[in-house]
Symmetry: C2
């Protein structure tokens, strides 16, 4: 019986896994450089954790199931609810600010179709317990630092920034009442994923009386930052703090040295209801502005879970869009199988010597391999090259007669006879000299 | 509404995650040293992949669910079926031997109770496409190398080894027909998890006529390796190859330098039906022989999936028993939050300088943090110590006046005034000199 891989799920063969690990390492290294600590949670949670925030409508988008005790669970579709649960459970014990990151795998019950993944990894980074725009600037700077580390510059990636209260004030100026914001935000958020006429139909049905879709879109697209902030400040007293915070954030992004990546864009509002301040999305500049990451400031993530109020800011970045962009731009590194040493025997009776040498070199943390099948020396050299070995070490009569080994640097072709004792004593140094 | 963590699932707060990452790094480093390449698969598979091998009885032990397309899936309870599927799909393209490892998370629908996990990580390491006992010896040596790397010696951990065909020959000698082996193997495998009278009842009901439970157990426990191998060789012609392979394996374990960890034990048979040769289990010597890892040789993993015959050998090692043992023995390292540099401002107007210094030092891959809230210098030094920083760098009037910074080594207490330019140019070297 032939059984396929489940639709929308990926198998990571070693050559794929090298790419994943390269990406995860870059995410992890950036997070640690910025002073964030790693956390993880369970692969599934009580279903309630997701319906609580998003309503029953979300259930069909989740892989959900009951156990024999009739507990209802769902595989996590995002990390933020888990983060909120974990922080709420220890809110009083955790020193502030809470700077955490994670690289969770997660699933969404998408309809299987080409290019639509049901399982993916996401870099999540959050600062909790800090209201200062410094935190907003720092998570954005961390994302930019990651992009720079993998070779992407401001001509490749753009951060579109806005502020929920500023957009709300702008919409209020157009006659859309603040208590109807969530629906308007969701429509604006979906706008670039909808056909233009689809968006127009949906928008005009809801808000056409206040402002027609085409005028809304040109207003949002053309609004200058200073005009928007000034207008929001003067027309909406409640937005004054948000305007001040956004101006501070904008200045801090300059101080952090990342403002050449940033553009003010009123169309960036984010779909999730919990954002309350600055919101931002990372897009690839080429090819239809592929979305790479999104996040923003939330004022009370844990309150829903009966925890104390914990404000914060964070984002999620998916593995697939980032790897896709790097591939399109030819910036994915070519990562090959590598070994430090491939051991070669000149004579099949020398296998025990090979095994003992392998054991010692491996204890020195070198990656070492050899052939299970006894083969001609030339064939073993081919195996060594195929495995990407840096050095081949030949065990032959010099070893049995005089405890010496031939070390060949496979990059330069240079080879030397070295003492086995010296090599096993400090292999890194001896190899580096060949 | 308060929502708990799902029963039997773990939250990994940063201090827990440091331990997990330390373990994963040790597993990964050992695997790479032994020339294995990492792979991964989907978190859930078609349910058929598990029932195919284990029958419908396994369904209640799995978290399983249907999607909207009525496809039936299960969260993976082990990695071997995924490995078999992935290898079968590319069996002809993959160069042999296939030396792969993975550190998958997986779930089993255990009844929630203290100490019984529903989700765990497992180190899986397999050599496929090689029948040579060298492969068996190498995976066992890899497990031993891992244990040694984390500070466990032969007085802490034992590998119990046996051979399925040898046990089968021994059972045949007691009158238990070879075609009834699987059930006998499963009972013997469960023996150390059953109460003695429970085992006796089950065994005697099935095989009491051939050999009573107490005699079987004393026979299995007391059997010497040479007697068993000799008897199997002489009484069962089919076992002769297996006996030869086992003797070779036993010699190779000596050559690899790991035989002081090894004990022949006929009671080690493993419960899974697919094992066909050598089988082995790692146990902690102290405290009731806690099971740490188990594996063995299988002759045809992918045949069930319509793939070509691919023999192999491998094992799985759980994270929880290993971490539990290390904790009991006081050998878990204490892993603290660490930073390379904590930046301190002597004056709140110097924050922009702090941010620029942080950005540059982070580009040099140093882990750098600072306080969001402006605070007295003494308080900032306390923050630095609490975060485990190796160095504090104070930005004060020497910086604004003469572009100099005070670097303090927090381990030694030594401090020096250094040039900002030099520090930013090569921070690793400048810091190492303080």
């Amino acid at each position: 019986m032939k059984i396929q891989s489940p639709p929308g799920m990926r198998d990571f063969y070693p050559q794929d896994m090298r790419v994943q690990n390269w990406l995860f390492d870059a995410w992890r290294r950036t997070s640690l450089a910025f002073g964030f600590s790693e956390y993880e949670g369970p692969i599934f949670e009580y279903l309630d954790l997701y319906t609580l925030k998003s309503g029953e409508g979300i259930v069909s988008e989740l892989f959900n199931f009951k156990d024999r005790g009739e507990r209802h669970f769902a595989i996590r579709p995002e990390m933020t609810p888990t983060l909120a649960r974990m922080v709420a459970a220890r809110a009083n014990a955790l020193p502030r600010p809470i700077k955490w990151f994670s690289i969770p795998r997660m699933c969404r019950a998408e309809k299987p179709q080409r290019g639509r993944l049901r399982e993916f990894y996401q870099w999540n980074i959050d600062v909790l317990g800090a209201e200062d725009p410094l935190a907003d600037a720092e998570v954005i700077a961390a994302a930019v630092a990651f992009f720079q580390q993998v070779g992407l510059a401001a001509e490749d990636v753009v951060v579109h920034l806005s502020s929920r209260p500023v957009v709300a004030a702008t919409l209020a100026g157009l006659g859309i009442p603040p208590d109807d914001n969530d629906r308007a935000f969701q429509l604006i958020d979906r706008q670039d994923r909808l056909q233009p006429d689809e968006f127009a139909t949906l928008w005009n049905k809801a808000y056409g009386q206040q402002v027609p879709a085409d005028r809304l879109l040109s207003l949002l697209a053309e609004a200058s930052m200073s005009d928007c902030l000034d207008a929001a400040e003067s027309t909406s007293p409640g937005a004054a703090d948000a305007v001040h915070e956004f101006r501070t954030l904008w200045d801090l992004l300059d101080t952090f040295g990342v403002r050449d990546f940033c553009e003010f864009d009123l169309r960036t509002v984010r779909g999730l209801a919990y954002y309350t301040g600055a919101v931002f999305e990372f897009h690839a500049r080429a090819g239809g502005l592929r979305a790479l990451a999104g996040g923003g400031r939330y004022d009370d993530l844990t309150g829903l879970l009966d925890g104390p109020r914990v404000p914060g800011v964070g984002f999620g970045m998916g593995d697939a869009p980032v790897l896709g962009l790097l591939k399109d731009l030819g910036k994915l590194p070519s990562l090959h199988d590598t070994l430090d040493v491939y051991l070669i025997d000149a004579d099949r009776t020398l296998l025990p010597a090979i095994l003992r040498l392998a054991a010692t070199l491996r204890q020195h943390r070198l990656a070492v391999d050899f052939s299970y099948k006894r083969a001609a020396v030339g064939k073993q050299f081919k195996h060594a090259a195929a495995r990407g070995a840096r050095y081949a070490i030949v065990v032959g009569s010099e070893y049995t007669d005089g405890a010496q080994l031939t070390v060949k640097n496979l990059a330069t072709g240079h080879q030397e006879l070295v003492s086995a004792e010296g090599l096993l004593d400090d292999p890194q140094t001896v190899l580096a000299a060949v």
